[in-house]
Symmetry: C2
Subunit: 252 residues, 2 copies
């Protein structure tokens, strides 16, 4: 008999400080509330961060694949739904949706996690005790995610960001969502005001450290269907930290 | 008969992304949730931002005076209480507290607001229609707030911050709380890890604009009672943007 994954839901009200100039929630805040839902799901099942640490590992995000029908807006009450779908020896695969009050699906996301040995900082096999309570299915191969296209490095449009003390969250590393802020904030203001994201792929490669300075590169191209593709990379010295592709459409 | 100001309360759960490395809520996030409570209070009484704009003005914060018994921590459920106490021709005076679930007062804040003509960007007299519904008392003189001591400029410890697109919130100006982030993030990491704020005075002078670069200056001195006083100033070119004094004690 196949396992039935448990679904976890929580509500969230979008506030003025979670939104940008256009009154739409920022992508970084959307990732923050999504990760919160997955942590609350784990805590509720008794397999939260502390439980996981007893196996010598900690969860790390490898990649997100996110389809956006509409960004949530200020004062909207959204529901975040999540389930842990499947896992194999090295990867755990999770699904999320964000729904409006009327049940409209605003966002659909899949995400890939791995277990990292927190002493050696290396990928470890996933302890089954940490995933079984979700009703996740053990599989040979978790679904593959498209790989983001590489950026064409342009030294003239890159911007530097110093990793701030307040970028380190209570999970004691640089908040994953902030990479998205470093990527979005290099785009021209009039582009951001007049476009909305419809899809993004985000892949984490190496963690950046507090006190370091990262370089955020991007390039931009028009697609055949008229949408705009921006490709992004965060570099920390010679180290590749994160890579993303974002698709945008012009505001209605 | 004296007016009785209405008290407005709302609950908030502190999340991992609202807290720093020490699992305590950041000062900037604390200001964000406080301002949200005051906006919700205004909206509930039918005198929100849109109502206020019909008089040609918008509220601007002049100063905060904040006493902190303990910073809220991750997963704590806090209650924010606020009332509009009094006003005169040019200033409105508001009080806030943050309480823990057991009713312990974690924070007490007073704040001074003014009405700014949004075309001329100049202080205007406060339309009585915007304050009377709060039950606020009309007075000749609102309570005075202590003025923050000036910083000793030190070119070697100052840091620059570029004002980012995502620093502009849905109220369409640089989120007021971000000034506090620019102030806190120049302090040494080991100081921030080992100290907690007990009091701060924050005074806004001139708004900074998107795309500009601000300089954040600070100096630090030990007080007679063993606490540490840090003095801060944000400069934008030759313009004084904000000034603050923060008192810190060593963590228990």
């Amino acid at each position: 008999m196949e396992n039935q994954p448990t679904v976890f839901s929580e509500k969230h009200r979008v506030t003025y400080y979670e939104a940008d100039f256009t009154r739409r929630m920022t992508i970084a805040m959307m990732l923050d509330v999504i990760i919160l839902a997955s942590e609350d799901h784990s805590d509720k099942l008794g397999v939260g961060a502390e439980f996981v640490r007893q196996f010598g590992v900690t969860w790390v995000v490898i990649q997100y694949d996110v389809h956006i029908n509409r960004m949530p807006v200020v004062d909207e009450n959204i529901t975040i739904n999540t389930k842990s779908k499947s896992y194999n020896k090295y990867f755990a695969y999770r699904e999320f949706t964000i729904e409006s009050e009327s049940g409209e699906v605003l966002m659909h996301m899949t995400g890939l996690w791995a277990a990292m040995n927190y002493k050696e900082r290396k990928i470890a096999s996933i302890p089954k005790e940490t995933v079984e309570p979700f009703g996740a299915e053990k599989v040979n191969q978790v679904p593959k995610m498209p790989k983001p296209q590489k950026v064409q490095y342009n030294e003239e449009t890159k911007q530097s960001f110093r990793v701030r003390y307040t970028d380190i969250d209570s999970n004691q590393h640089v908040n994953n969502a902030h990479y998205m802020d470093w990527m979005v904030n290099v785009l021209p203001a009039d582009f951001l005001t007049n476009h909305t994201p419809t899809h993004f792929l985000l892949r984490y490669e190496n963690e950046v450290k507090y006190g370091s300075t990262v370089e955020s590169y991007y390039d931009m191209e028009e697609q055949e269907d008229g949408s705009i593709l921006t490709k992004h990379e965060i570099m920390s010295g010679d180290s590749h930290s994160a890579i993303a592709n974002i698709t945008w459409r012009k505001n209605d």
